[in-house]
């Protein structure tokens, strides 16, 4: 297991390197003077000079690249133009809200998606299967942020059951359990919205994997042993299909994290997604590229974790 972990890390590090490199060259590919891009709109000549010095833009390209790499490796993504604070501290401050949102929706999507996928596989070809399959096609075809908008219109604006925006109730400070409840109430709509895409992907691929597993010889052998149908489904078939489920979660994690950007806008959720949105609209490029590199590292790490979980679940992958 340790060997596998090391090998996975050896594969992930070049990826992180690629992301940082890509970002470096993108900033230089952008039309105009990189210093002007990094300095934001209408900078003073002094500020431009300062930026040039800070980013070493007066140095040769390869030196700049080395400096960029070294800084990125230590978590130094420069200073946010608009906020005037180190990019990393801005990201670190907002990250927990995104973690809460992402974990809530992934838990929801994993449980419901798996249940629906297994249910559809057990009734493969029946009406229930058709309904679940159609529902999952709708789920991954409809943009998540629009579903979020509709939920806001319905549950917050029209019915007024749940808050439309934010993570906590404004102008009221709850503490302890009341605070958790308050956040929970605010979390319901965005978590459901974000969960839909992953949920439908999980349902779709779990269904396929379950149907395949249920048709394997070892199911017949286990039946001949006297194993009950329920145990066949969960202990034998699902133990095989769950590897696919975990792989899907890993592969789609990037899409989920991208999804937080739009979902956080729709629900005014104060997370990393908002950082992206604000950085785009304020043309705060150090903040934008920093948030991008940070998110990419999170996605790559999540993929590594999902690979390790798969290896723990399937002895044939461990080698």
């Amino acid at each position: 297991m340790l060997k596998l972990l090391l090998r996975r890390l050896a594969m992930s590090l070049p990826l992180v390197f690629a992301v940082v490199t890509l970002t470096f060259f993108l900033v230089r590919l952008a039309p105009g003077d990189p210093a002007a891009i990094l300095a934001g709109e209408a900078p003073s000549p002094e500020f431009l000079a300062e930026i040039r010095a800070e980013y070493g833009l007066d140095q040769p390209q390869w030196r700049q690249f080395l400096a960029y790499l070294t800084k990125a490796a230590t978590g130094d993504f420069g200073t946010s133009i608009y906020l005037g604070r180190p990019v990393f501290s801005v990201i670190w401050e907002r990250f927990p809200a995104t973690v809460v949102l992402t974990i809530a929706s992934m838990v929801l999507a994993s449980i419901l998606g798996t249940a629906l996928g297994v249910l559809a596989a057990r009734h493969a070809g029946n009406r229930l299967d058709t309904v679940i399959s159609a529902g999952s096609l709708l789920g991954y075809s409809i943009p998540g942020f629009w579903i979020g908008q509709l939920l806001v219109i319905l549950f917050a604006v029209e019915l007024d059951w749940l808050p439309a925006s934010g993570m906590t109730t404004a102008r009221v400070t709850y503490t302890g359990f009341a605070h958790v409840l308050d956040v929970g109430r605010h979390l319901i709509l965005p978590a459901v919205t974000l969960a839909i895409f992953l949920l439908t992907m999980i349902a779709r691929f779990t269904r396929t994997a379950m149907i395949e597993a249920l048709n394997q010889d070892f199911i017949l052998v286990a039946t001949a042993k006297g194993v009950s149908p329920r145990r066949l489904l969960w202990h034998h078939a699902f133990r095989n299909a769950v590897v696919t489920t975990v792989t899907v979660i890993g592969l789609e994690f990037g899409a989920v994290l991208s999804g937080t950007v739009v979902v956080e806008i729709v629900f005014g959720w104060p997370g990393l997604g908002r950082v992206f949105y604000d950085a785009i609209n304020r043309r705060d490029f150090p903040l934008l590229t920093g948030a991008f590199i940070f998110s990419s590292v999170v996605v790559i790490a999540a993929n590594t974790v999902s690979d390790l979980v798969c290896a723990a679940l399937d002895p044939r992958i461990r080698r």
Partner: protein
């Protein structure tokens, strides 16, 4: 128990599953609407009026926006942008995917290894965030959007084509062509490419759905080309008035959802009718 069906003649419509027919109908409906926009639209989509944020009524079937512009007309013309970006990005994505898939499958060995590693890298990257950064830095324009979305969405096609080519490479008629002295390029273009063509239909259709979805994401974040407002762009504006003007969000989103559902249904159906398993991966 295998059934041998007679090959359907070209002039006869192949029998398609109901879901595929629904998909084709949805796509046809949307495409016709946008093509005939000048005939259908009640107003110029840019024409301002004093009728600001009006709910749907007889004069404005889908209501008006914050500048009094007719939403129905804006949705019709917005469809041209969304569909256009979807189509062109998908074409780029499929072309790149076919190129990489053909090369990897046909040459195999180290080339295959390198290309597949690259495909894995692209699969892991958070594509939409890459697109956000690229468009932010290089500027919002139709061309940039099309290029970015296209160049980030070739992995599925590349994998399918690679698998197909590897199967084909083992078949007799390819070996026969090689034996009769045909060059590698000729075999690739004359024998292998025509045989993977059927798979491209399904692939392209699914890619269009994905590309329209990605475009709406970028536009919703304010990265769409403001000169050509797409459905995602309209939804971004709708967000500003979400607690007062539900129509601004509901209708552009409905058009978007219908279109993507349509293309996905079509792609799934085409994929299955050609017996392509798991065309989406």
């Amino acid at each position: 128990m295998s059934l041998t069906l007679p090959r359907p003649a070209l002039w006869r419509l192949p029998s398609l599953p109901a879901s595929t027919v629904i998909g084709i109908a949805l796509v046809a409906f949307v495409v016709l609407g946008t093509l005939l926009a000048p005939l259908i639209a009640p107003a110029n989509p840019l024409a301002l009026s004093t009728d600001i944020l009006a709910p749907p009524d007889a004069a404005h079937p889908l209501g008006t926006d914050d500048l009094g512009r007719d939403l129905f007309s804006r949705v019709l013309y917005g469809g041209r942008v969304s569909l256009g970006i979807g189509l062109f990005s998908a074409l780029i994505g499929v072309t790149v995917g076919v190129g990489i898939g053909l090369a990897a499958g046909f040459f195999g060995g180290a080339i295959d290894e390198a290309l597949m590693r690259m495909t894995e890298v692209f699969q892991v990257l958070p594509k939409l965030l890459v697109a956000v950064v690229v468009v932010s830095l290089l500027g919002s324009s139709l061309l940039n959007e099309i290029l970015v979305i296209g160049l980030l969405s070739w992995t599925a096609t590349a994998r399918i084509i690679r698998t197909r080519v590897m199967v084909l490479r083992e078949e007799e008629f390819i070996a026969a062509a090689a034996m009769s002295g045909a060059s590698r390029t000729r075999i690739l273009l004359r024998h292998i490419l025509p045989n993977v063509a059927p798979y491209l239909m399904a692939s392209t259709t699914l890619q269009i759905a994905g590309a329209i979805m990605s475009e709406s994401f970028l536009s919703f974040l304010g990265l769409g080309d403001p000169t050509y407002p797409s459905w995602g762009f309209l939804l971004q504006q709708g967000q500003l008035y979400i607690d007062s003007a539900w129509w601004l969000t509901t209708f552009p989103g409905l058009a978007l959802a219908m279109t993507i559902v349509g293309f996905n249904l079509m792609g799934d159906g085409l994929g299955q009718s050609r017996a392509i398993g798991g065309a989406r991966r």
